[in-house]
Symmetry: C2
Subunit: 308 residues, 2 copies
């Protein structure tokens, strides 16, 4: 079992979907990643920043799931990062209504001493300089560094993004972002180009169409579980990343074959995340439910074919 | 081994993609279905109609692949159905430039005597009344009837389409068409509604995102093989249907488990179809190539997971 260090936002979200809307609820990439990874009973810690308005009960909830929050700086006089968005009817696109960076604007990540030797580091979507600053603080070279990012950083901080991408083993990115970063339309070609930028493994997330894992000519595909209803897609990508890294922290096997399993667990956990608003479904999720869904994933994808 | 009866267009296509354009080349749903199914070394026959302008060498080529063409009526004074289309840069959408129905306008399908007891009937995309007329001529109830259709018939002949849908075991349809036919956005819900219209099995084709097979609560997902380059998507859906029905005709096992294999073979064969213009890749395709690609599909989808 490896320790998992998670860097990312801990935030308030207000979400509107065709099914309803929420007031400010718990959100943030690191929150989703942590909750998802906690399913594997590992030791994890979050590095982030919140304001004095952030309820202690949220931190208590994370602690109760064995997620260390000593790396979440609390700036008493500041306000927590707030994002608000509205999903369109197809749930595949959304408008951002509000982004208040607040305490995130001058975030200086401090990795707690006990997580400086983490075996696995998950760099959640944040400014690439913040992601780099976390890697600089590691005293032991991690077994695996995974980076998530988004088009926003490609638009405004591409050189810094390319610097941190050089330093990671795995990048997770969605299909449109992979196309933007590589300049290639075909995802196969995009993965080759991104591979050349540094990461040995490239995970391309396609939302309801699943995720592709690429590694030096090898490809693996994990579908998303087809659902009758997607209630709220917020956090699905981060939940995927949490399942992926949590499983690898648990198994300590970073071979391509085991990474296939990690991608399946990522899809598995993401399929729960979208069933309710925000983190609601993830907070109560039981191991038995995850195992039952793993069985569904096997039914969905495994076949026994004989040659013609 | 069951006989496979194929009904559909045999046509001329002129295709333009970002990679180039063709003059009138061999096309048509039944052509693609037949070529794809011929990989399984089965006995198949096409019911269709062409004009006096249709080259005998095309019929010879089909015959050489054990595809019976006695059901392809030749109207000497008529012209063969002609379709011309231009694909956009993303290859996922196209504009139809020309549709000349010609001999197809008054097509009266005649099933040759030796195919009236076919075990498997593949009703390619055509006017639903033509599809029904073929079923009316069967003297023995087929083991399996598979129907392909498109939004065009939903727009102009919905009652006739619903009549023939009642009579089939499997429907293959793309995602947008499934939504239109069912009035449901979620594909899971769409499959339930279409299931209620008659077919025990619903196959929803999602192009580059693969295909879903639904049957009474069971789901199976076959990805499309991620390709560096999609040269020409024309005929991919029909090639999928040909692989699906050809494999079932060969194995004579219409259980859900074996239908999973059929869907994989459909995806397998479709992945070749798009590599060259029109039917070019399918005409020369070898069994060894198909078997190698089956291995790639296994690498792409199969995993061995242990519970947490």
């Amino acid at each position: 079992m490896s320790k998992l260090l998670i860097v990312g936002t801990v935030a308030f979200d207000a979400i509107e979907t065709p099914f309803g809307k929420t007031d400010k609820i718990l959100g943030g990439a690191a929150t989703y990643i942590g909750l998802s990874a906690s399913q594997f009973g590992i030791e994890s810690g979050i590095v982030s920043v919140v304001g004095g308005d952030f309820p202690k009960e949220y931190l208590d909830m994370l602690n109760a799931k064995n997620i260390d929050t000593t790396g979440i700086e609390i700036i008493k006089e500041g306000k927590t990062f707030f994002w608000s968005g509205k999903y369109h009817n197809d749930m595949n696109s959304r408008d951002t209504l509000v982004t208040e960076l607040n305490v995130l604007e001058h975030f200086n990540p401090i990795v707690p001493k006990k997580f400086k030797d983490s075996g696995i580091v998950m760099l959640g979507n944040l400014h690439p300089s913040v992601q780099s600053a976390v890697l600089d603080q590691m005293t032991t070279k991690p077994k695996l560094v995974v980076l998530d990012t988004m088009n926003f950083w490609m638009d405004i901080a591409l050189p810094a993004l390319k610097e941190v991408i050089k330093r990671v083993d795995v990048i997770t990115i969605n299909d449109e972002e992979a196309r933007q970063l590589s300049g290639e339309y075909s995802l196969v070609n995009a993965a080759v180009k991104i591979h050349e930028m540094g990461p040995k493994y490239v995970v391309i997330k396609k939302g309801e169409h699943g995720a592709l894992l690429f590694n030096e000519g090898n490809m693996f595909y994990a579908p998303a579980l087809p659902l009758a209803e997607v209630f709220d897609p917020t956090g699905a990508g981060d939940t995927f990343a949490g399942g992926f890294t949590g499983y690898l922290a648990k198994t300590e096997d970073i071979s391509f074959n085991n990474m296939k399993n990690a991608v399946i667990y990522g899809s598995n956990l993401a399929s729960f995340c979208v069933e309710k608003f925000g983190t609601e479904r993830m907070v109560d999720l039981s191991k038995a439910e995850v195992e039952r869904r793993l069985h569904q994933f096997k039914q969905l994808t495994q076949f026994e074919i004989e040659l013609m």
